[in-house]
């Protein structure tokens, strides 16, 4: 009796009008084209910029790592420099001192990141919110002042050499490797949020009682969330070490942890595309300053600052603007495009509805400026 209707309307057809086959081909085609352009630029650009792009990809992975904690589990980690740094030192240590291959070092660093973050996850079982962020903060400081000072790891402060793998020694090839890993992390992040782990983590974030009533193990998924974040951070740490080819403690300070939190906020909490874009911007920003001569002159000569320090001025400013004008961050701004890639019709507003009420404040400000300009 039901077979006729089942044939006519299979389960998935009941959900959302899907694009035609040609629509999907167009979307996948554009996506591949975008990826190809990025990879082609990375492979052909001058070595200086290829190296910077490698850093941008690593920042993308770090951003996604923090996004798991901030966006998905709803906690704040101010100690991510400890996870990244610890893994960077371990990776370099295993490759240089223990004679392991780069790939073993990378794997061990990823595992170390997952384990150390898992420990923090166990703490997070009892503490959350402000107190947890304080714990992560102190965790970071303790790591910096203890582990990062161990002479065997840092070679007495001189830095641990971290050679690149033989096939990826040049700037271009290592940058490509970093982008491939960024792609892998994006895939994992996407699948995680599409399947049971993502739903469980979001449920735990909202209410532990509700999550448990859906048979979700609150303990397990809290720790798992932190471990995934730690694994991403560990992977990024290893790549960071071998990009720089020497790991020094100074690379991992609280300053970095702060910038990483800011870039996730600017990218949009829980929005992976926005977070990657914002993270790359934050990684490249100090070098972008060098492209604009008057700005470079102003920063270096007038302000007497290194362009890198400017990130800590621009970062909070951007974060503030984001929170006031666009709480969804970069991810919200590019949402018409990401929605199209997901298979919806292209429209500036979700479901083709125009927003009710006043036009957006940012749009109003812009319009005002344009009018005055005329």
């Amino acid at each position: 009796m039901t077979t006729a209707t089942e044939v006519l309307s299979p389960a998935d057809a009941r959900t959302r009008p899907q694009p035609s086959t040609r629509g999907w081909i167009a979307r996948i085609g554009v996506m591949i084209l975008l990826a190809a352009i990025v990879l082609w630029r990375v492979a052909t650009i001058e070595p200086f910029w290829a190296d910077r792009f490698a850093l941008a990809a690593i920042y993308g992975i770090i951003g996604l790592s923090l996004n798991v904690v901030l966006g998905y589990t709803g906690q704040v980690s101010l100690g991510h420099h400890a996870f990244v740094g610890l893994s960077a030192f371990l990776s370099a240590f295993f490759v240089t001192e223990k004679g392991q291959s780069f790939w073993i070092g990378l794997l061990l660093a990823t595992l170390a990141g997952a384990l150390s973050a898992g420990l923090l996850g166990l703490v997070a079982l009892r503490i959350r919110g402000l107190y947890l962020s304080l714990i992560t903060l102190t965790y970071g400081f303790v790591a910096v002042n203890s582990i990062f000072d161990i002479p065997a790891l840092t070679r007495g402060g001189a830095g641990m050499p971290a050679p690149r793998p033989s096939g990826f020694a040049t700037e271009h090839k290592f940058a490509l490797l970093c982008f491939l890993f960024l792609g892998l992390v994006l895939w994992i992040d996407w699948r995680m949020m599409k399947t049971k782990v993502g739903r469980a983590v979001l449920a735990v974030k909202q209410s532990e009682a509700v999550a448990a009533s859906y048979a979700v193990s609150v303990t397990g998924y809290k720790v798992l969330g932190f471990m995934v974040s730690g694994a991403f951070a560990g992977l990024a740490g290893s790549l960071f070490a071998h990009r720089a080819t020497t790991v020094v403690s100074a690379d991992f300070s609280f300053r970095e942890a702060l910038i990483w939190v800011l870039m996730v906020v600017v990218g949009g909490l829980g929005n992976r595309t926005g977070v990657v874009i914002a993270s790359m911007f934050f990684a490249l920003f100090p070098f972008l300053v060098g492209l604009v001569n008057p700005l470079e002159h102003f920063v270096i000569d007038t302000m007497g600052k290194d362009p890198e320090e400017l990130t800590l001025v621009i970062g909070p400013a951007l974060a503030l603007l984001t929170i006031i004008l666009y709480p969804g961050g970069v991810g919200e701004q590019i949402s018409p495009i990401t929605r199209w890639f997901r298979g919806e019709k292209f429209s500036l507003h979700p479901d083709g509805h125009k927003p009710k009420g006043k036009p957006h404040r940012a749009a109003a400000v812009l319009r005002h400026l344009v009018r005055r300009g005329r």
Binding site: A11, R191, M192, K205
Partner: protein, 287 residues
């Protein structure tokens, strides 16, 4: 054998005794009501049964097995489903995704397989979605499958919550005020739906409910909780007539009494008005 047995349940919050020596039994295929004034400890009892609170004393036995020491999610996986007084749904997920998370215990792939995107995880996700849509169809909510929860009416969310509990595949369901926020007509429909659900899914139900007509309509047996103790128990009609129950409700729900008294006064006034009006007419008739 009873599906659920609560024995000597007691819990204190500081100096406050929230539950004291509570004994409850829910037999197979019955709908058992749990009523009592606000603050009587009804939801606290639910939380103790689910393991969200750790009681100071007492045991919870589910189908002959002592589950007192199991964590909440294990109890749910065994077949105890539960709704919340103020809607236990995940706001960040869409309607269909809420139906999918409700099936969490029966997902046929591991967490890591899902994270790395194994072929099987894709197929299993399609199955979860199809089953979720079937349940939504059953409740007449399938049009809303892709909607976000924000902006959906309260009654719809209440119904959806019942849907998610059904998707956890329970055989005992604890409902916390399922008719809250509903009008009398909707509440009546809900009662019929509950009876139908029991008929088709062989459910056993324990429910907290304030709406008396609904309790009388659907419940086979009623426990009355007051100040953390079982005041009385019995068939709905018997309990309704019990003097202590009337006293407990009237004593604590002063507002309602006031409202009732106001109604009586209004009626009396209008009666007087009608009478005096009649009097005028009579007067006129005389003149």
């Amino acid at each position: 054998m009873a599906v659920l047995e609560v024995r000597d349940m007691g819990i204190r919050f500081g100096g406050l005794v929230a539950l004291d020596d509570v004994n409850i039994e829910v037999p197979e295929w019955e709908i058992v009501g749990l009523i009592g004034p606000n603050g009587a400890g009804k939801t606290t009892l639910f939380n103790c049964i689910m393991g969200l609170y750790q009681p100071n004393s007492g045991t919870v036995t589910y189908r002959g097995r002592d589950v007192s020491l199991l964590p909440t999610h294990r109890r749910v996986a065994m077949g105890i489903g539960r709704t919340f007084q103020n809607i236990g749904l995940v706001r960040e997920l869409s309607v269909i995704e809420n139906m999918m998370i409700a099936q969490h215990a029966r997902i046929g792939y591991g967490a890591l397989a899902g994270i790395f995107g194994s072929v099987r995880s894709f197929a299993e996700e399609r199955k979860l979605k199809a089953y979720g849509l079937d349940v939504l169809d059953f409740l007449g909510l399938s049009d809303l499958a892709n909607e976000k929860l924000d902006g959906l009416p309260y009654g719809t969310l209440k119904l959806l919550e019942i849907g998610t509990v059904l998707a956890t595949d329970p055989d005992l369901v604890l409902l916390d005020e399922p008719s809250s926020g509903m009008g009398p007509e909707e509440a009546h429909q809900l009662g019929e739906r509950l009876l139908k659900l029991r008929q088709t899914l062989n459910l056993t139900v324990l429910m907290i409910e304030h709406h008396v007509p609904l309790v009388v309509d659907v419940c086979d047996y009623v426990y009355v909780l007051n100040f953390g103790k079982i005041l009385t128990e019995g068939r709905p009609k018997q309990v309704q007539a019990h003097p202590e129950v009337i006293a407990a409700y009237l004593g604590s729900e002063a507002e309602k009494v006031d409202a009732d008294a106001q109604e009586i006064r209004d009626e009396a006034d209008s009666g007087v008005a009608a009478a005096s009006g009649g009097g005028k007419e009579r007067d006129r008739g005389v003149s």
